[in-house]
């Protein structure tokens, strides 16, 4: 019988202290706290949490293993479906997925599944890495031998035409969540996987986008990446596919038998209002890339970042929260400007809560209409209009309508625009036969694109979404690539 206690609170850095540093906000559970929290799970017969998880982790099973203190077993359970648990435990929007469907959440508080997942991953990283590594290595080795045999059988039967060594090469373009999940599954299946990354560091949004205080780079991201490298996955950085090399080159000249495109949606959108190119207007992508990828917050870094007295961030998603909390830590007074109300904020509840705790001001029902500049072309403020909520739009949220004559000014030295991203068309433009929709999203059927042997998943297919959805798509694509290479797919 489940323990009817309140959700076990998670320890966090004090808001006043953390507002001045980039260290991780949430400390996570320790073993006792995790076991206590796990005791709250009802172990439902029909676990709704599993259905709500984009990668279908067997949540009741791993929670039960935590309850019994079998943290290694819990890790293995999660690993069956997720390749990056330490990351997902930190950045998934659990309140709209697993925790959102937890039956306990109907009348009270759901099981803190995300925090439990994070605990299991971190505990494993700290205490069980050695054991885990050698066993995984062992299993992987056995699996690979079997796969190689299978490859040879297929070669003989003509399914996979290859000369030379026994490995089938698969290229994964983009080392963000979709690419990493896809590469991980393909490597487990025994394929020879190379990931191509345009930046100098792998990880995609995990590296350039999500800040250190939410997702530590050295302690979490780099360790997860290292696991993939230990599995034999090659990562080639500084390769901007479409410019450095094309998909045709990879397939025709370099012998890749299949390609997965997980290039995301990286192009920042701007407001399209006057004054947007004034000095002091930044995309959240730029601001976050300077600080996360280029480490501009550190004195050691050669990359500058604009340190404003006052910063306005427009947008209400996770990226807006990340940019706002980064600006706060760099010493700015920060206001988030959002056109709907707190209820409609698309960011994770925890991020909004943390942002508020840290002292970020929220200016709801407000939309900028013009960026105001001083005589030298630097931002001095934004002119905004007040909004009210009208009829629900296609997303089901009530759409904001401007209130005529309600314009007012907010004084600020910088404006960070976090209104979402769109797709870079480079891959589509440089790959003959690759079809897209009007927004540049690659058209796919069960992750297969219109080009034979080319698969895609993540934001480049769906438009900007979440880490876990991209991972789910990456995994589906790995399965589809496997079917295709074995010759029993529909292609």
């Amino acid at each position: 019988m489940a323990n009817k206690i309140d959700r076990v609170p998670v320890r966090e850095q004090d808001p006043k202290v953390r507002a001045t540093n980039f260290e991780e906000v949430c400390y996570g559970y320790n073993a006792q706290e995790a076991m206590l929290e796990a005791s709250r799970c009802l172990n439902c017969k029909k676990p709704r949490c599993v259905d709500a998880c984009p990668v279908g982790i067997n949540i009741p099973a791993f929670v039960h293993q935590v309850l019994e203190g079998d943290f290694k077993g819990a890790y293995d359970t999660i690993s069956q479906d997720s390749s990056l648990p330490a990351i997902c435990g930190r950045v998934c929007p659990q309140e709209t997925q697993c925790e959102g469907s937890c039956i306990l959440g109907v009348k009270g508080q759901s099981v803190s599944i995300g925090k439990l997942e994070r605990f299991v991953a971190d505990y494993n990283q700290e205490h069980l890495e050695q054991v885990q590594y050698s066993e995984a290595h062992h299993n992987n080795f056995r699996e690979r031998i079997e796969e190689r045999r299978e490859c040879i059988r297929q070669m003989r039967s003509g399914f996979v035409k290859r000369e030379g060594d026994a490995a089938v090469k698969v290229a994964v373009i983009g080392s963000g969540p979709a690419g990493l999940a896809c590469a991980s599954d393909l490597a487990k299946l025994g394929y020879n996987v190379t990931i191509f990354e345009s930046l100098h560091k792998p990880g995609g949004v995990l590296t350039y986008g999500i800040p250190e205080f939410r997702l530590p780079k050295k302690a979490v991201v780099e360790k997860e990446l290292q696991k993939l490298i230990d599995m034999g996955i090659k990562i080639e950085t500084d390769v901007f596919v479409g410019r450095t090399v094309t998909i045709d080159d990879l397939m025709d000249k370099e012998g890749f038998k299949a390609v997965f495109v997980g290039t995301g949606a990286g192009l920042p959108m701007f407001l399209g209002i006057p004054g947007e190119n004034l000095n002091g207007v930044f995309s959240a992508n730029e601001y976050l890339t300077r600080n996360n990828l280029m480490q501009a917050f550190s004195k050691e870094s050669d990359t500058p970042i604009f340190r404003a007295k006052k910063v306005c961030v427009v947008g209400g998603g996770n990226v807006a929260m990340d940019a706002a909390r980064t600006a706060l830590r760099l010493g700015s007074e920060v206001t988030i400007v959002y056109r709907r109300t707190e209820k409609e904020l698309p960011a994770r509840a925890e991020e909004v809560h943390h942002a508020m705790e840290e002292g970020i001001r929220f200016q709801m029902l407000t939309n900028p209409v013009e960026v105001l500049g001083d005589e030298n072309g630097w931002v001095r403020g934004i002119r905004c209009i007040r909004m009210e909520l009208g009829e629900p739009d296609e997303s089901g949220r009530r759409s904001p309508v401007p209130i005529q004559g309600s314009e007012f000014e907010i004084e600020t030295d910088a404006l960070i625009v976090a209104l979402g991203t769109k797709i870079n068309r480079l891959i589509a433009d440089t790959t003959p036969g690759l079809e897209t929709d009007r927004k540049g999203r690659l058209l796919t059927t069960e992750t297969a694109t219109s080009r034979k042997g080319v698969f895609a998943g993540g934001d480049v297919v769906t438009g900007a979404a979440t880490v876990i959805l991209a991972m789910g798509e990456g995994r589906k694509a790995a399965a589809a690539i496997h079917r295709y290479l074995r010759g029993d797919g529909s292609l």
Partner: protein
């Protein structure tokens, strides 16, 4: 890691490096650029591609010391490694789309300011090798900043050099030569110093480290005529002008081209971070629309570029750059 296989000092502040980067060497095209990073804390510095050798798998970059990052790059020696070299980035030059046979009948005028000679070189070379008429103007503040003269001479029909102080070639700025080269024959001597006044913003050139740091400080004009000028009465003797150099030079080259009714392409050296379209630091207004220099450019129709905005946006981190230069004890006075 990308090994430096050759290094030459071209002037007291400008260096030429050949770097092993086989993927880039086989895909680079005229008009494109690279992003180079030195050290774990290094900045991503956009630099133009000066040359490439597909067979050896090497690319050549020319770097002027303009700040901490470019200084770090220039202090590396043969056998040392650049931490990252990414590219080629941006779109190749428009003329790459023209069928090679048609290039024979084309007449190009290149205007290179300072280190701008480096990106002009592969473009001139490509066109000249395909039979186009290629005239090149290289301009700089003084003779110490004129680079690649001998190499350039081999890939163009005529080479014209000018310096602000007259220490090499003609005394004067590039626009003066542009005007004279386009003037109907017999009227060259009529050129007047009409542009000296327009070149007011001395000191607008900033220490922004970026794609094509160069040197350009407009000064007085000079009427001395030398060499042959190809103009014919009433006809602009070029199909296209390409200007690459400091932003302020490209602005005035464009104003001159407009006056001469000569189409002009400019290559914008904006601030950049990733260089792949992800950040928008490089945005410029082109024909009233916001474009990203890194993926929509770097080359644009000069007539359409809002140069004043571009000049202003280059100054965004000037304070931070000056502080960094001071902290590193970097003396950029010449």
């Amino acid at each position: 890691m990308y090994r430096i296989v050759d290094k030459k000092q071209l002037t007291p502040l400008i260096y030429s490096l050949w770097v092993e980067a086989p993927r880039i060497a086989s895909s680079a095209k005229p008009g494109q650029f690279l992003i180079v990073r030195t050290g774990e804390n290094g900045e991503r510095v956009p630099l133009t591609i000066c040359d490439y050798d597909t067979r050896k798998g090497t690319v050549r970059i020319v770097v002027q010391i303009a700040g901490v990052s470019s200084s770090k790059i220039c202090h590396l020696n043969v056998g040392n490694y650049l931490t990252d070299v990414a590219g080629p980035l941006g779109k190749p030059s428009d003329f790459m789309e023209i069928p090679e046979d048609d290039l024979k009948d084309k007449r190009y005028l290149f205007v290179a300011g300072g280190v701008g000679a480096a990106p002009v070189y592969p473009q001139a070379k490509y066109l000249y090798e395909r039979g186009a008429h290629v005239d090149v103007i290289i301009g700089a503040r003084n003779k110490d900043l004129i680079i690649m003269e001998d190499e350039m001479r081999k890939v163009c029909t005529n080479l014209y050099i000018c310096t602000d102080d007259g220490s090499k070639g003609e005394k004067g700025v590039v626009t003066l030569l542009m005007e004279r080269l386009c003037a109907p024959s017999g009227t060259q001597n009529g050129t007047e110093g009409a542009f000296s006044g327009d070149f007011a913003p001395s000191g607008t050139q900033n220490g922004t480290e970026g794609a094509f740091p160069g040197d350009f400080a407009p000064s007085g004009t000079q009427n001395g005529t030398e060499g042959a000028f190809p103009g014919e009465a009433g006809v602009v003797p070029y199909d296209m002008c390409v200007a690459i150099g400091p932003m302020i030079m490209m602005k005035f080259a464009t104003l001159m081209a407009k006056k001469l009714e000569l189409p002009i392409t400019v290559s914008l050296n904006t601030l950049m971070v990733d260089g792949t379209g992800m950040c928008g630091a490089c945005r410029v207004s082109v024909a009233g629309k916001t474009m990203f220099a890194c993926v929509d450019g770097p080359e644009f129709n000069g007539y359409d570029v809002d140069f004043d905005e571009a000049l202003r946006r280059q100054t965004l981190y000037r304070k931070e750059e000056q502080e960094a230069n001071a902290a590193a004890g970097l003396d950029l006075r010449r």
